[in-house]
Amino acid sequence: MATKVVMEALSPTMEEGRLVKWLKNEGDQIKNGETLAEVETDKAIMELVARGEGVLRKRLLNENDAAPVGQLIAVIAPPDENIDALVSSAGSAAAAPAAPAAPAAPAAASAGATQEKVASGAPPAPPPARPAAPPAPSAAPSGNGGGRMRSSPLARRMASENGLDLQGVQGSGPGGRIIKRDIEAAVASGSAKQQPTAGRFVPAGEDYRDAPLTQIRKTIARRLSESIGPIPTFYLTAEFDMERVAEMRAAMAAMGDEFKVSFNDIVLKAVATALAQHPEVNAHWLGDKIRYFNRVHLGMAVAIEDGLITPVIFDADQKRMSEISRESRELAKRARERKLKPEEYTGSTFSVSNLGMFGIDQFTAIINPPEVGILAVGALEEKPVVVDGALAHRKRMRVTMSCDHRVVDGALGARFLQTLRRLIENPLMLVY
């Protein structure tokens, strides 16, 4: 039986693809999953793989030509099967691309449906699963028989509303049941909330929590949108002292090449750490609700030849500086080569844009919706400043945060920048 090869939707927004290069010739034996061609989407160059086995009998699209998603571009079939009907139907379809012939899948359908013979297609994969957590900690409350954690329904609701992880809460009810007063105590002390940032251990639980819009949030959203367009943005600028960051970076570089990190790596690490402490900023505006993420997926804007793309460092707050450094370098390189996979540039919860290398002192970045904030990082500059009453020259850097006022109010954005300043001006906090 023949397998139709169609132009697949290889990015979430792709409507047509340009065939860059065929990697198989007519007559080649094809295995399921083998790469047939390179296709340029609206965002990157992607691999188009075979969804069936047989001989590549016919290529129906020339290199450098484009085809709409869903259009038949090749046929894989056994050597003796008659594919004339298929091929001729493709011809008419190509002539009238608006009406795809054959019982092919509808255009714009996810790739999984486009090659009929295959049960498991490959739609754009979701963001990678969070790193596997180590087995449950031995610190589970001893009174909890059978390892099951007991909690009252109210306690669970309150924990979810406060972004609290029940694992970090000691239950005081019968059998170790976690009850209201335990949650109140945990919220008051703030102890359980900080747990997720303390190392690589990622507790099981929701990746985010949805908060229904309160009346005041609805009113703020409506009024401010009326004033300033669909995203009522405001900007907060702060100038950070970079002396200590510079010292740290120099000291690390002195230890050898493998310890070299860029200023931008340190900023990314600091932003990720600050976001983990301010989940109110690490959010998406979804129109009827606000989604607060419990994981920090940091988008980093990368300039490419004909535009800009924002690859994502997933779980950035959980990663060491060296990992962030390596990953950001690798993502930027592949972005410029247009080799990013869709799952590598979707799913960010907050973004950073750095034009410091172009000598820009400060600028305002445009929020990447549905995110609610983006940090614009300016150049590091040596400046005269007053320190302890005397004029001194110090390395300084300006950042500007664009905030979606529907979610982030001024004081909230300011507190986030306060935390960021504390981290950047005291970079040892980043290894705390």
Binding site: P153, L154, R156, R157, G173, I179, K180
Partner: protein
């Protein structure tokens, strides 16, 4: 505002409604010449005459049935049972005639009548005469059931019951008749059917109750208040139709509930209250709901055993502490 007894409050309600509507009459054992076994109908025979205040033989099924017939032809009878324990003999007229008539006649016959009398235990009346019947009666579609706990509610609910076009069960209490409370003198007192009342306001737990147990709940609330524990006391007042909003509003606020009733546990009114709570307030609960009720035995005659079997303020206090994880 004057302070009167529960007994007098009922008497005022009867008198006022009999003046208001000459179709209203009262019938039962000893209601006329003897002025009522508990003197609830005191003075009515003299005021309204023997056509409207009617003594009956000891024939509960018979006079309940006469009441049903009278209601069918347009009168508004009030049937007094000397106690609800005796009403068991009339239960066929209550359940099969009064409760069903509107339905089975295809809407042709309203049933504007009241069945009333003392319910539940008094003191040392033993197993057959100490029973709380509200869960039996509230089980029946077609009946409305009220259980006033204060003179004000007794007057207001009885008046609403008399004016209602459906059969309404009014559950009074022998131990309540002498209790006193404020009832305004010069204004009409009407308590709508189906409306609970928050008798005490607190934030730590909710006691949901009705009838005689309202007094126990208020005592418990007073004593708990001295220990810094403030409870809501939700008096259901009407058991059917039940004011679910009042229950869930309170439980959503306090996150902890105690359901207090005079009757037995199994299939009791409290079981229904707990069902509403688990259905509507699941995510609001910080502790399992605790019920307080009569021990699952026929009421003992011996004073000490009777006390042990009955729900009271001390048991309600223990239950509140349990839902607050204080013991």
């Amino acid at each position: 505002m004057s302070v009167i007894t529960y007994r007098d409050a009922l008497n005022q309600a009867l008198r006022e409604e009999m003046h208001r509507d000459d179709r209203v009459f009262i019938m039962g054992e000893e209601v006329a010449v003897y002025q009522g076994a508990y003197k609830v109908s005191k003075g009515l025979l003299q005021e309204f005459g023997e056509m409207r205040v009617v003594d009956t033989p000891i024939t509960e099924l018979g006079f309940a049935g006469v009441g049903v017939g009278a209601a069918m032809v347009g009168l508004r009878p009030i049937i007094e049972f000397m106690t609800w324990n005796f009403a068991l003999l009339a239960i066929d007229q209550v359940v099969n005639s009064a409760a069903k008539m509107l339905y089975m006649s295809g809407g042709q016959y309203n049933m504007p009548m009241v069945f009333r009398g003392p319910n539940g235990a008094a003191l040392q009346l033993s197993a057959q005469h100490s029973q709380a019947w509200e869960s039996w009666l509230a089980h029946i579609p077609g009946l409305k059931v009220v259980a006033p706990g204060t003179p004000y509610d007794a007057k207001g609910l009885l008046k609403s019951a008399i004016r209602d076009d459906n059969p309404v069960i009014v559950l009074e209490g022998e131990m309540l008749y002498n209790t006193k409370g404020e009832v305004p003198e010069n204004e009409e007192v009407i308590v709508p059917l189906g409306k609970a009342e928050l008798k005490r306001e607190g934030e730590h737990a909710s006691i949901i109750t009705h009838g005689k147990m309202v007094l126990a709940a208020l005592q418990a609330a007073d004593q708990l208040g001295k220990q810094g524990i403030n409870v809501d006391v939700v008096d259901l007042r009407t058991i059917r139709p039940m004011d679910v909003d009042a229950i869930t509003t309170s439980v959503r606020k306090t996150n902890r509930a105690v359901v207090l009733e005079e009757g037995w546990e199994i299939c009791g009114v409290g079981a229904q209250v707990v069902d509403y709570i688990q259905r509507d307030c699941f995510d609001d609960l910080d502790a399992p709901v605790v019920r307080v009720h009569q021990a699952d035995v026929p009421m003992p005659y011996a004073k000490n055993l009777e006390r042990a079997a009955k729900p009271d303020a001390a048991k309600a206090i223990a239950a509140v502490k349990k839902v607050m994880y204080l013991e």
